[in-house]
């Protein structure tokens, strides 16, 4: 049922097929200029603290990819939480015999994010060709594990922003902050002082999204190894589960349970 819902959304969007191409082109503009800026800097300094052009590109693109995939599913439904509550439109979802969370999420798939998923993915793959990595099956598998974990971590933050709207108002503000704040990991976090690195690893673990997987992949020796990858997966799943429970707690409170 869930995938069917998602498919319905995509189908509805495809009706305006031309605009999808338009979206991709628009996103491309941003990418081109960002990479141009990176190129200019590397042209002058030969590398960014030892990271080559394509390595930085990969870091960027991986971040976009992870973020866009999580956002495609979760961003819009959480953004609409406050609206739904105010307009009493939440009832329809609470009434169905299916899992309300899945219903809301499935009904609000954001096809716009797909342009970033595609572009980010493409740039990442292209960059990989220019970076010497000795691939092993284990390495690839663990990398994918960490990607999944990363998506759940970012997704967890999105759902958290939505769940919060049961207590305070306006999930939209937190979501905007989230969207902006994450640009801190466009460059390797080693440019920041130790304190901030710790913050980005343990407390607002954005660095887990792209930095650590990347270091694991081709920047050894570094502070990331196979265990780190598994840790990211574990952290992602547990964090998301927690946030998911929080969301449901908010729903029950909204329904007046226990009052």
């Amino acid at each position: 049922m869930f995938m069917h819902l998602v498919w319905l959304n995509v189908k509805a969007r495809l009706q305006y097929g031309r605009s999808f191409v338009y979206e991709i082109l628009t996103s491309m503009v941003g990418y081109i200029f960002e990479f141009l800026a990176v190129w200019i800097i590397i042209n002058q300094f030969n590398s960014i603290i030892g990271w080559s052009f394509f390595e930085i590109l990969f870091l960027h693109a991986l971040g976009y990819f992870v973020r866009a995939t999580a956002s495609a599913f979760l961003w819009r439904p959480m953004w609409l939480m406050s609206d739904y509550m105010q307009r009493g439109q939440l009832d329809k979802f609470l009434l169905s015999p299916v899992n309300s969370f899945m219903y809301i999420v499935g009904s609000n798939f954001m096809t716009y994010a797909l342009s970033h998923v595609i572009l980010g993915g493409m740039v990442a793959i292209i960059s990989i060709f220019f970076i010497p990595i000795d691939w092993t099956l284990l390495k690839a598998l663990l990398f994918i594990c960490s990607l999944i974990g990363a998506m759940f971590i970012y997704g967890g933050f999105i759902v958290f922003s939505g769940a919060i709207s049961f207590w305070t108002v306006r999930s939209s503000f937190l979501l905007r902050v989230l969207t902006e704040a994450w640009s801190v990991i466009n460059y390797p976090i080693t440019i920041y002082p130790r304190g901030i690195q710790i913050l980005l690893t343990f407390f607002i673990p954005f660095a887990l999204l792209n930095y650590y997987p990347t270091v694991y992949l081709f920047r050894q020796p570094g502070n990331s190894n196979s265990w780190t990858m598994i840790l990211i997966l574990a952290a992602g799943l547990s964090f998301f589960t927690l946030v998911y429970k929080l969301w449901w707690y908010g729903v029950r409170k909204y329904q007046g349970a226990g009052s």
Binding site: T26, F45, I48
Partner: protein, 265 residues
């Protein structure tokens, strides 16, 4: 005249309603600024490249650049013109292009003044806790910087103005146009990266564009990289640019209006 002052005031006032925007603006600008500074700190420490200025000067560069971006790189004018075209209200100004431009200017100024007070000031205060902004190279430099910055406002306004009118031909594409312009402005004006480290070919392009007077020129003067007769040269060329843009503005306006009349509004 009073009418336009009032317009600016209203613009100012309506910005107050959006408290979240203020917090968000402060947050984003401090964040972007910090990322830039940390990146360049690492660049300076790691690589051995002669950038021509010290790291402390770069800090000042970025703080000023962030502050100026908030004033100059803003697509509100573009959005407003696109809206007026879409809803047809632009027809009211058919005979009085002057008035339209000035009203847009006033509203813009209102917004900028608001940003200055509630976003830029806090941003500078917060940044100065962590980073030190240097004093201007000299009094003359400071005056020149202020003069050039204020005048560059018109340059950026003009660009957005023309872009806004271009939506006549590119209906529905205002988002993409705004984005494209924002990126070009940020890069080629020196807001993101000082243009003097651009590769030769890019530097040439940037040096022939008027947008460098928003960032590269005034900030270079402030930190002392440009001095003496170069300052005077800069002011003169900027002046020529402004005059040219006024002319181009009017031409674009006239072409647009003709299209509007032909279409039937």
């Amino acid at each position: 005249m009073a009418r336009y002052c009032y317009m600016a005031y209203l613009s100012f006032k309506s910005s107050i309603a959006y408290k979240a925007e203020v917090w968000f603006g402060i947050f984003t600008s401090v964040l972007t600024l910090s990322i830039q500074i940390f990146l360049w700190k690492a660049l300076f420490q790691y690589g051995e490249s002669n950038v021509g200025v010290s790291f402390d000067q770069m800090i000042t560069y970025f703080i000023l650049s962030t502050a100026l971006s908030l004033c100059l790189i803003n697509s509100s004018v573009l959005d407003e013109i696109a809206k007026d075209i879409r809803e047809g209200t632009i027809a009211n100004y058919l005979a009085k292009p002057y008035k339209y431009k000035i009203s847009l200017l006033s509203k813009s100024l209102g917004r900028i003044f608001f940003s200055l007070l509630f976003v830029i000031m806090p941003m500078i205060i917060i940044s100065s806790i962590f980073f030190t902004i240097q004093a201007p190279h000299s009094l003359v430099s400071l005056l020149a910087t202020i003069l050039i910055s204020i005048c560059s406002f018109y340059i950026f306004f003009s660009i957005y103005y023309i872009a806004g009118l271009s939506t006549f031909w590119f209906m529905g594409m205002q988002g993409a146009i705004g984005l494209l312009i924002e990126n070009i402005l940020r890069l080629l004006s020196g807001a993101l990266i000082p243009i003097w480290i651009f590769p030769k070919w890019l530097y040439t392009i940037a040096s022939y564009l008027p947008v460098r007077y928003g960032f590269d020129v005034p900030i270079s003067i402030y930190i002392g990289r440009t001095a003496g007769s170069d300052i005077v040269k800069g002011i003169a060329v900027q002046f020529i640019w402004i005059l040219s843009l006024i002319i181009v503005d009017n031409i674009v306006w006239r072409i647009s209006i003709r299209k509007l009349v032909i279409q039937g509004g």
